[in-house]
Symmetry: C2
Subunit: 424 residues, 2 copies
């Protein structure tokens, strides 16, 4: 009997999660950093992020769970098992948000994980293995690029020192921002960087329209498309807007618009599978009557096919070599994350858990990246998606239904219990 | 005998200004908001701007000059005349700077004016008319667009309430920023908005290369080219960069780069006299992995020919109507300032003052706008330019020579004394 079969046969109909408590937790967390338009602004290592973590730690503390933190600020909440030496079954996601983010992105996975732990307590269930809920630091990367910073550092894909030195637009680096957060949080046990565990299952909203349009309860995520991230800088020369002839200018913004148009043209993909985004562009000094002396912008590039991504990568770096309209260009690769395929056995466990509850589910590849991308390099990993309204995410209008949120948490609970007894 | 002739015949060789003191004042002011690259960042109504005004008020207070402030924050320093009821002879400029500004732009005119007042004291000269030195509020318009805000309000060209409601990028409005400054300054006599006086002469660095390249001591400014300022906004829809197909996006930054390219193409001017600049562009929410939902940018447009400007204006507003790549566009005209011709008699007075000192001078039209643009609508106005290194301005590398700075202040002193006895 192989491991997969053992999982199938062991899939239990486990304890029912408390969907009302889960929804209340989501609403309470949404109050922290709430925006006027109904979303949240709780970017990594801000006061709001710290308040979000404090609220979670309070809930964990009521249950007596043990909390610890690693050097990059990943937070771990542990429910002990009967055999403390066995490696834990992990779940998790992130509490940080986009500047105009929604109430569910990341938060949902963290609170679904907490719900699993609390459900086991409610039903007096002791597990053989410990369970751990992880709050990854800075998944969004909006204040401090790149995204999935905490899990990348834990996986050894991004050196700790490099991550700590990354600065936000105000010049504050991760190290200092993290110190400020640690001073405000209750004293936590510290632990070394580590990416190990028996299995990792992350719940998340889909952030796309597929599950809703196909009226599915949950998505069984089979992998994540590849993601490259770049920072491009153009250097011009500041000059007076009223006196400097256009022919004599080195206008970094004019050069940037030309360069972006060239790259967009080169990224042409008739199938519309490639995702090419310039989401951040900073003009320096940013005065209406001064010719821009410097422009910095970021490119976010994604595709499920690693070869397609590498060809696009080559074109971008070619176009960003030398000068554009008299302005020298430099390109920094922030991230080259190849497409990921999740562990067959974990994916099957999630599929069986959904099937065990007679839910309608669908296999799906994630368009967005997640911390599960980095856990998958070291730990058998899977994900569960729940539908979100019209597929809208990274937007204050992001929304999900209570019933879907509950379904995903139930599948997470069942799958975490099922995987525990598997031989991975 | 007409007024012009009376000026010529009365041009005196007056008292010598103290060039060393003037240079020391410039250096002391350059310390306030000094940047690492040798420039200054002393934007309107910031702490640095307040400190600059305090230093000037200290110098004025040592001489016993009377200081007052109007409702938009223009600052007046008065040296009394023998006939206090006669309208004053005015000079002035601004202390606020660009975010990456130089040590001379604006500052020079204020401190040259102070030097005139102090020179008269040094020589025990009582004038018939009072002299007033004006520090205009927010000439640069970099924190709070548009430029020349203080003089525009005093001239009635911009309603006071509208100006007070203008916000910076952090959402702080002029009214609140002004309150903060007033709370930090010594208590000042308040005065009503007013744009009157016998004559106004402003000294300034050229901010262009003409005087230096022709080895002139000073420039006799005959007028200012026209300036239009616009704020353009494009509305897209925020979306997840990893999941949203390009065809379904409303990307405000993609639309903005297309629109800017279209406007630039329409502004084509083979003679290279038109100055078209996009110096400020803000992307919202500005996160690398979120499709931009809003872009706001400013256009600064200048030409000496009013008809040319109006044709360009029409093209811009046409291109900014409707939608661009699915994103609705709105255009706000911040400023439509027509070209200005200065008062013949004041211009002649400046010319004669330069000639009286055997200086090499040149008639010149200003490419940059100045507060003198608005004084000219109500008060006989002229300007004096001094050369600046390579014509570089709105740049931390901005520089001028001590000898040129002194020459301009000497011409200002002579011209202010000469104009006093003229019949304007």
């Amino acid at each position: 009997m192989n491991a997969l079969n053992s999982i199938r046969s062991l899939t239990p109909v486990g304890p029912r999660i408390n969907s009302q408590r889960l929804w209340e937790h989501i609403c309470a967390m949404a109050d922290i950093g709430a925006t006027a338009k109904g979303g949240v602004n709780r970017q990594a290592l801000t006061t709001e992020d710290t308040r979000g973590r404090m609220l979670l730690l309070q809930w964990a503390s009521c249950r007596g769970y043990q909390a610890s933190i690693d050097p990059i600020g990943n937070l771990f909440i542990r429910r002990p098992g009967k055999s403390p030496d066995l490696s834990p079954v992990l779940t998790g996601s992130h509490l940080d948000s986009q500047p105009t983010g929604g109430k569910f992105d990341g938060v949902y996975g963290v609170l679904a994980g907490l719900e699993v732990l609390e459900t086991l307590d409610d039903h007096g269930i002791e597990t053989e293995r410990p369970l751990e809920l992880i709050v990854w630091m800075n998944e969004e990367g909006s204040r401090f690029p790149p995204p999935t910073m905490g899990s990348a550092v834990a996986a050894g894909a991004l050196p700790l020192a490099d991550a700590l030195a990354i600065k936000d637009v105000d010049g504050i680096d991760v190290q200092d921002a993290l110190k400020i957060q640690l001073a405000e949080l209750p004293v936590l046990e510290t632990r070394a960087l580590d990416m190990s565990g028996f299995a990792y299952i992350e719940a998340h909203i889909e952030q796309g329209p597929v599950l809703e349009s196909q009226a599915c309860d949950v998505g069984v995520v089979t992998g994540i498309q590849g993601l490259h991230a770049y920072e491009i800088q153009l250097l011009g020369a500041e000059a007076h807007a009223g006196t400097t002839p256009l022919r004599h200018r080195k206008d970094a913004l004019v050069a940037a618009t030309t360069l972006i148009a060239r790259i967009r043209a080169a990224m042409d993909d008739p199938e519309d599978i490639l995702r090419f985004t310039v989401g951040r562009l900073e003009v320096y000094p940013g005065s209406p009557n001064t010719v821009p002396g410097r422009v910095t912008f970021n490119i976010d590039l994604r595709h499920p096919d690693p070869d397609f991504l590498l060809r696009a990568d080559e074109k971008i770096l070619q176009l960003c070599a030398g000068e554009v309209e008299g302005c020298p260009v430099s390109a920094k690769v922030l991230l080259r994350s190849t497409p990921v395929t999740f562990d067959d056995r974990v994916v099957a466990t999630v599929r069986n858990a959904a099937g065990g509850r007679a839910m309608k589910f669908l296999d799906i590849v994630s368009g967005a990246t997640h911390d599960a991308k980095y856990t998958a390099e070291h730990i058998p990993t899977g994900m569960i998606f729940v539908p979100c309204e019209k597929g809208i995410s990274h937007n204050e209008a992001e929304n999900a239904r209570e019933v879907d949120v509950a379904a995903g948490a139930q599948v997470l609970c069942d799958a975490m219990l099922a995987i525990m007894s598997a031989q991975l």
